[in-house]
């Protein structure tokens, strides 16, 4: 790619699970090869169960890779680190903590800030994600969309080099999802952090990303990459742009090829 080395470099990543019930090794990701440039927003789409979330977990350092090399800024990824922050599919908020307390949990866990500094920054972060007036609300009092704002704010407060997003809007209703996509782009546009976004929603991927990577069916590897040449900032109307629709068709065709292909082996209840 460019002259400067990429932010995230994944070379021939293999991730395997041991299945206790069938006593077999199960390959979830088999030879993923990709690079993400600094400041780039990349989305990965693929048929369900293709290993895209597994790959993201490996990038976060939550699960070990069996083979290949995975580096962020040239440093090998072995465990979760301060240079990455994850926005989870399930909000994962502490029910006994207020919005403010939950937003601070990430930096508290990392131990990088004093409490007063964290509190002050968390209050700023609340403005950024649009949760003013809900500082002292508890997660159970919030809607799904608002919970995901907290989830996002918690990750952003740690000021990571790279933001990892694991289908954060998948559980939201269609309208809230669109709104949150718009919000995410608005927030991302402030400092344009390198971002890796996992989704099964093709439109969401095109709308958000600079580049969409399509995974093959299980075991997952990169099938195609599509550069999304749509101007930023993007409003929701861009989704009806003929160019947008063309991207959608292209990616959908690619995924359909995968679904139509004869499955190698189907194992029920295996992690995607």
């Amino acid at each position: 790619m460019g002259a400067s080395p990429a932010k995230l470099v994944a070379r021939d990543i293999v991730v395997e699970y041991w299945l206790p019930r069938s006593e077999q090794l199960f390959t979830a990701v088999d030879g993923v090869d990709l690079e993400i440039e600094s400041g780039e927003f990349v989305a990965i789409v693929g048929p369900s169960g293709c290993g895209k979330t597994t790959f993201l977990n490996a990038v976060d350092g939550l699960i070990p890779i069996a083979d290949g090399s995975l580096t962020l800024d040239g440093v090998e990824i072995r465990a979760p680190g301060r240079d990455r922050a994850m926005v989870f599919q399930q909000p994962g908020l502490l029910p006994w903590r207020t919005v403010l307390g939950n937003i601070m949990f990430g930096v508290e866990a990392q131990g990088t800030m004093t409490k007063s500094e964290a509190l002050q920054r968390a209050k700023q972060q609340i403005e950024v994600v649009g949760l003013q007036g809900f500082e002292d609300a508890y997660p159970l009092e919030l809607s799904g969309g608002m919970q995901q704002r907290v989830n996002l704010a918690r990750a952003l407060l740690t000021d990571p080099e790279m933001l990892l997003l694991d289908e954060p809007f998948a559980a939201l209703d269609a309208q809230t999802r669109e709104l949150m996509q718009l919000e995410l782009l608005r927030i991302w546009n402030r400092d344009r952090k390198t971002a890796l976004f996992i989704t099964h929603d093709i439109k969401e991927a095109i709308y958000l990303a600079d580049r969409v990577i399509v995974f093959t069916k299980r075991p997952g590897r990169v099938k195609t990459e599509v550069d999304i040449d749509l101007p930023r900032p993007r409003g929701l109307r861009v989704k009806r742009d003929p160019k947008f629709v063309a991207y959608e068709d292209q990616i959908w065709d690619s995924i359909q090829e995968e679904i139509a292909a004869k499955p190698e082996r189907l194992l029920a209840g295996t992690p995607g």
Binding site: F88, Q90, P95, W96, F105, G106, A109, Q110, T158
Partner: protein, 291 residues
């Protein structure tokens, strides 16, 4: 209203009056429904007491069986008052003894149960090591150990504390362990992803989440501990409420015996109710089983 009717909405009929319409509406609950449980419960208990009084009085006049077989509620109430006012009775010495035994055994069991429950919940190996002992002792009726404790610790408070302690210990261990084990896996993943050290994960994620379970353990422990007090004292004791009941029984003072039994039951209900109220305040974040 039965459970089946909760969702029933009666269809509106054309031409009916507002009043009828409101009556038929299932949306707005009737005000008295809030007190329904209390009212029905009170009525049932009152009916029971009246019936009991009737049978007892009839028995006393007709002499079907000796009056001491069945003291009436009024006899029991009278005995209850006498129990607390008669200076010869010296009930406070017995209450003091039982209260002290209860408090000592219960507090000790709560502390050790908490520590063991956390240890067994957090460290699998600790659980593997202690599980056989916990299962064995939990399955043993603690009552059968009373004679042994009397041999070991004598008939004074020490043997009672031992029984109470063993009674309250297991609900505490088992519930605390369940609370620690039930920690939401998603929350643990979040903590791990942000690189939280083990101690921080424990203090900020696991322990607060286990609070509702710990409170349940404390509540269930009360019942076991109270049983322990009375039973241990029934077997052999110098003072205590259990000893009192035993004395009343062997001397055929049934009204006083009834009064003492009701006193113990009342204590149990009151303590359990208090702990249940505290528990309810924490219910909202008991980890839900997600589908």
């Amino acid at each position: 209203m039965s459970i089946k009717e909760i969702d029933r909405v009666l269809p509106a009929t054309r031409g009916e009056t507002t009043r009828t319409r409101q009556y038929r509406s299932a949306v707005k609950p009737k005000r008295w429904k809030r007190y329904e449980a209390m009212v029905v419960g009170t009525v049932a208990v009152t009916l029971f007491l009246v019936l009991w009084q009737g049978v007892a009085v009839a028995n006393q006049t007709a002499k079907w069986m000796p009056a001491l077989f069945l003291p009436s509620p009024s006899d029991t109430a009278e005995a209850f008052v006498k129990l607390f006012t008669d200076p010869r009775q010296n009930i406070w010495a017995d209450l003091g003894t039982s209260g002290f035994e209860f408090a000592t055994g219960y507090v000790a069991a709560s502390i050790l149960g908490l520590v063991m429950g956390i240890g067994m919940g957090w460290y699998t190996r600790v659980q593997y090591a202690l599980d056989p002992f916990v299962n064995f002792l939990y399955a043993t009726p603690r009552i059968v150990l009373v004679p042994l404790f009397i041999i070991w610790f004598g008939i004074d408070w020490q043997s009672k504390v031992a029984v109470i302690f063993l009674g309250a210990l297991f609900p505490m261990i088992i519930n605390t362990m369940a609370g620690v084990r039930n920690t939401d896996a998603a929350l643990l993943r979040v903590a791990r992803s942000f690189g939280a050290p083990e101690m921080l994960t424990f203090r900020r994620v696991v322990l607060p989440g286990a609070v509702p379970f710990i409170l349940t353990g404390l509540r269930l422990g009360v019942g076991h501990a109270l049983t322990g007090v009375v039973v241990a004292e029934l077997v052999a004791a110098r003072h205590g409420v259990g000893k009192l009941i035993s004395d009343f029984g062997t001397t055929f003072q049934t009204p006083k015996m009834f009064a003492a039994v009701i006193f113990i039951a009342g204590t149990g209900v009151l303590l359990t109710w208090t702990l249940q109220r505290i528990e309810n305040r924490f219910q909202t974040w008991r980890p839900q089983i997600k589908s």
